[in-house]
Symmetry: C2
Subunit: 96 residues, 2 copies
């Protein structure tokens, strides 16, 4: 059985977000004048097959280590890790 985790990486408070800024400008120019701010974020959905005796807490710690070592830049990023419930998993989540 695999565990799916969602890692959201956002810019720390005070770090410039030109992508968000420009998206806001573009939306305003397209006529969406009630848009007050846009922030851009990055997410990863990580599917892990835990080893024997590893529980969710252990897996979360492992993913935190992944963030520190690879996924996030500690100078400019904050991150948030959460376990994805089965009905919200990547392949089922978005159906349009």
């Amino acid at each position: 059985m695999t565990i799916e985790l969602n890692v959201t990486i956002k810019l720390k408070h005070g770090v410039a977000d030109p992508e968000g800024e420009n998206t806001k400008k573009a939306l305003n120019l397209l006529g969406f004048r009630d848009v007050r701010s846009v922030k851009s974020l990055k997410s990863f959905r990580i599917e892990i097959e835990p080893g024997e005796g590893e529980d969710e807490e252990k897996v979360k710690q492992e993913v935190e280590e992944m963030c520190r070592k690879l996924l996030a830049n500690p100078v400019i990023h904050d991150y948030d890790i959460s376990v994805v419930k089965s009905e919200k998993k990547y392949n089922e989540e978005i159906n349009i």
Copy 2:
């Protein structure tokens, strides 16, 4: 009062995700051998000041129009729009 919405943009099923693939490889090489898959996603946090008489449903429809016109590429992307509850808002959400 403003409403904050979260727009998650993911690749449609079957579209190649080289960023996710390479992140998985890198994690495996770093010693995280139980990682089975990594998918990359993009999110926007959009803060909207609704006009008079506009409710959440109306604002969600507006954001869907934004996705169609600017934020997502309908050829390769699916998207999901949700209203962010106050305690989960961008500035309060991630505290590490």
